[in-house]
Symmetry: C2
Subunit: 337 residues, 2 copies
């Protein structure tokens, strides 16, 4: 006899929220009730869950009563207001925003990497940043065998990371470009049609942008490697929903490419895409709408005997956000079953 | 009294060839005659040079007679057939293909970096690979002050690197995507609309693709640093005509960011684009149709005290190819004036 859960999705109308709803259905999550929540502005809309149509409710302590498990897909500001309400009603909260990711009391979890951190939560579990999730899924199988010394990362991040409106802007603006109309950036600060730019998140006093800082700090937390040396350059590219990353991995000692390939070929959540003859490697169009992180181009770095090069693409909305959160929920359910 | 030259552009009908013709006009290159050449297939067309219209001729020893200086914008296969004909008529040949770039008798020149190598040519001068040119313009001002130890590069390369047909394919295929039509890759092996992929050049036994190998070997030649440690991941992105690069630069000792910024701010061929407040850095749309390489996001690498991070965008057709060749020609002319 499996217990069933009363589940809420908070921020259900966005790109990540709608994907969470889709995944709860697809993966037959054991729920007795699904409730959808959003900000006042989106409340009153209806969303599809399998064959059902469900109303979107406004978040309030009253409305949240009875919820066992909540998945958060709203931005950090809203989430900070909503978290106390969830705590009040006793719901476990798996949050995709950055609000609690650096809170030492909050586990930051990628189920393929550190599921054991779920043993010690106190009501909130944080879902990591999308670029970080995709990377650690690919690096953990190597790091656990031979610890990584330093990472040099360059990302190729899709518009979806900035939400559904950004994906629409990319398509609309591209059509404007092709039609010779002037480009009007609204969601992004710069034109995105046939263009790219360093990630548009706030730049800190160390000159790293927030996205880069997330990759550094979150990877260290997830790996329990607080001093791991990491540098990153995060870049927004005119792609819709899958991120790619070029990762230079320095180890303390040489790591045979064949061993790395074998480990990644057998790793959960990873799919090796490496046809050297056909020059066929991970690409966003093939990573989109897939659960696995596509990994390939694993090469000995010719500039350093202790380093490997690796390339990956992964669905930003799915494994980079919604799927990881649902997998965390599945782990919690498995534990309490 | 300045001498004037009888100049030929070989491969004049392509993206780089037409840009060479445009630049010879714009920069008032001292020519007494301009002749345009292409393969048999394109001969007979007419191209614009300022107010004039010039015929495109087929390459032959007979037709090339009288040429003093030839700029090559054709692929390596054709160039290998044409070079002996140019040698025969005594023309100096500045070639943009990869045919002679690793020939020790042929100088490989970026005028901002190693103009002195032009002193020792024997009739052929090679124009480096586009990604390499853009990078060395940005790195030389640092390397000459404090030698670089190792480079970790990730590129974001425009369609133009594969020629005018590839630029058309990107636009046509993007329209197909937006209209919901199936994508038909012809020039590129994979879809390029809203997609990206590791550079589609031949992969060698070391698992590096040709473009990556060019960046490694050509940078070493241009810098006269035969053992410089370099690794690169080259990636094709859905951008039209400017490449971008994320470059991690390791020195033998720490390099103050302020000094690097001052050196690059004063460097020929470089334009600093660094507004940290507005998150405004080099972008392909602003690098397109410009002569300078846009450089910015110069940061201390937080993972290594002896490393800096740097980001650049540069016009692939202009400084990455046609402009560099014309600048070489200008240097030769300056020397013999």
């Amino acid at each position: 006899m499996t217990r069933e859960y009363r589940v809420a999705v908070l921020g259900a109308t966005g790109a990540v929220g709608t994907e969470m709803v889709r995944l709860l259905h697809e993966r037959r999550f054991p729920l007795s009730q699904l409730r959808l929540f959003a900000s006042e502005r989106s409340a009153g809309r209806w969303l599809t869950f399998g064959d059902e149509s469900l109303p979107v409710e406004a978040v309030s302590a009253e409305n949240l009563k009875g919820i066992d498990l909540a998945l958060g897909a709203a931005d950090a500001g809203l989430v900070r207001q909503w978290a106390p309400l969830l705590q009040e009603v006793g719901a476990v909260f798996i949050d995709n925003s950055s609000a609690f990711r650096q809170d030492p009391a909050v586990p930051l979890v990628v189920p393929e990497v550190n599921p054991e951190d779920l043993d010690h939560h106190t009501g909130i579990i944080a879902n990591p940043n999308c670029s970080t999730i995709l990377m650690v899924v690919a690096l953990w199988p190597l790091h656990r065998v031979r610890p990584i010394r330093r990472l040099v990362i360059a990302t190729y991040q899709a518009a979806s990371g900035a939400g559904a409106a950004a994906m629409e802007e990319l398509q609309r603006q591209t059509q404007d470009y092709l039609d010779g109309r002037p480009l009007k950036p609204e969601v992004f600060p710069h034109p995105i049609a046939f263009n790219l730019f360093p990630h548009n998140s706030a730049i800190g006093p160390d000159f790293y942008c927030e996205e880069e800082r997330k990759m550094i700090l979150e990877t260290r937390r997830i790996f329990h490697a607080p001093t791991l040396a990491i540098t990153a350059t995060c870049v927004r590219v005119p792609v819709l929903r899958a991120h790619s990353e070029a990762i230079n991995i320095e180890f303390h000692e040489p790591f045979a490419v064949e061993q790395a390939r074998a480990l990644l070929g057998a790793a959960p959540g990873v799919r090796l895409v490496e046809d050297w003859q056909a020059n066929h490697f991970p690409m966003p169009n093939e990573a989109s709408n897939r659960d696995e992180v596509l990994v390939g181009r694993i090469r000995q770095d010719l500039s350093l005997p202790t380093a490997l090069e690796l390339w990956l693409s992964g669905d930003q909305i799915r494994k980079g956000a919604a799927l990881n959160a649902v997998q965390i929920a599945e782990h919690l359910v498995g534990r309490s079953a």
